[in-house]
Amino acid sequence: MEDGKIKGKAMVLSGFDQEESAREALEQALKEAGLAREAIGIIVTTGNGRKAISFAKGDVTEARAAALGAVFLYPTARTVIDVGAEESRAIKCDATGKVLDFAVNEKCAAGSGAFTEAMARALEVPLEELGPLSLRATQTIPMNAQCAVFAESEVISLIHSKTEKADIARAVHDGLSSRVVAMVRRVGLNTELVLIGGVAHNPGFVESFKRTVGLDDVRTAAEPDFVGAIGAALAAAE
């Protein structure tokens, strides 16, 4: 980021070595920006591995980075909902992106993107197709299991009892969104929502989420994976 404008960005899958992954992402972003490593004044990290990156000058919490990034992109945003692979959080913030309140679902796969990953595996469909598949559902069926492991067995027995995969996929998204929405209610629900994080790519989840909160439309970040990194860059600029 230069003078508040994004110059380059990159995303790599986190490998076993977080430092290595971070370095790779940085190099790709520099390439895109056409800059040399020396041109970077300051590097700030965020996310799960934020403390593990030795070449960074500082780090900000995921909640702060998400709020800063979201308000930068969508100035009216006041509630940021970040649904990532391993955890999800709801953040209430003010016009400057300052965090006022936040709630998090963590350490239980049932409350994050890991849930949809496991269910896609049980349904034997690629993760990217789970969302579109659920949009073709014709029925709402309940899912009782509240655990990713028990839900896998439930999905398998639903398949055996000849339930349509599309209906199962919808039940999966409804389950996850009810858990995410519960967390949003802990910080207070308002209409200035922005959905960020990897799971925001999933149209099936977004649809369920809208149904669960009872809103016709929910704003989804255009590039939901980068909001946190943008927030970290803004924190670095400060």
Binding site: F16, K107, V149, F150
Partner: protein, 290 residues
């Protein structure tokens, strides 16, 4: 998976008292425990154990209950109509057509454990394939504090199955293999089975042996169960039932963590639920005929 699940199932058998004559008895009471994996029936004659069976649960509860009670009555000449009071328990308890009443397995396990292991039993842990129950009871086997965890797979037989599957190790060997390590590793840090799986893969990549991973997982599970027990208050004497009772990889680590040894009895711990149900049936029978 078929082979893995075998671990939670036990050899089917039936037994009846070789000398007792049920026809001389006044109170014939039965308890039927229809679980997700196995079903037991137990018959009390005047409050004494006369016969029982321990069989696999079939595809539906009514059939499994019939099979179990017929198994217990096998070669005795007794018929269903001879039973004066029958209590059903276990997850299929509401679907036993010939039962006079259904009672939760928590109450039945406490009552059964009290009979099997004596009135000094205060804590009963039942770890099955799908849930984990911790019960605190008084000297009469009456529940004084309990919790049941059937929401989360961690800390149930299911979590263990997932790990066994990941490492391609037969689940019955887990206990033993988990002790074949040079030194006890620190426990796996993620509780969630899904995240523990990724953690286990990471540990293997960094050079841990399968046995080390098993040891780390077993001790994480033992630790988790000890925390659950802490909530209801664990006291000497302590009794373990359910499939996990047969996995030394967890039981021994749990005993070490609690600093208490679990009580062993001459009875098969799997009949605790049916026994408790039959004891309630016997009590209710006496109440009714007073």
């Amino acid at each position: 998976m078929a082979e893995l699940q075998e671990f939670w199932r036990w050899t089917e058998y039936t037994w009846h008292h070789p000398e007792m004559d049920w026809r001389k008895g006044k109170r014939l009471a039965a308890g039927i425990d229809v679980g997700s994996v196995s079903s037991q029936a137990l018959i009390l004659v005047d409050g004494e154990i006369y016969a029982f069976s321990n069989l696999r649960t079939g595809s539906n509860s009514p059939d499994s209950a019939h099979k179990a009670v017929n198994g217990a009555m096998k070669d005795t000449g007794m018929e269903l109509s001879n039973l004066k009071y029958t209590v059903g328990t276990g997850y299929g308890r509401v679907n036993i057509p010939f039962a006079n009443r259904a009672i939760t397995e928590i109450a039945c396990h406490a009552r059964g454990a009290n009979f099997m292991a004596g009135p000094k039993i205060r804590t009963v842990l039942d770890m099955g394939g799908q849930d984990c129950k911790a019960i605190h009871c008084d000297e009469r086997g009456k529940v004084s504090n309990f919790l049941m965890n059937d929401k989360c797979a961690a800390g149930t037989g299911r979590g263990m199955e997932v790990m066994a599957d990941l490492l391609s190790i037969p689940i019955k060997d887990i206990g033993e293999l988990s002790y074949q390590v040079d030194q006890e590793p620190p426990p796996v840090s993620s509780t969630c089975v899904v995240f523990a799986k990724s953690e286990a893969l990471g540990l293997m990549r960094s050079g841990w042996s399968k046995n080390m991973v098993l040891a780390a997982y077993c001790s994480a599970m033992a630790h988790r169960v000890s925390l659950l027990l802490g909530r209801i208050g664990v006291e000497d004497q302590f009794f373990i039932t359910g499939g996990i009772a047969k996995n030394p990889g967890i039981v021994k680590r749990l005993e070490k963590e609690l600093g208490i040894e679990s009580v062993k009895t001459k009875y098969d711990s799997q009949i605790a639920g049916a026994l408790g149900a039959a004891l309630f049936a016997d009590t209710l029978l006496q109440k009714g005929t007073q």
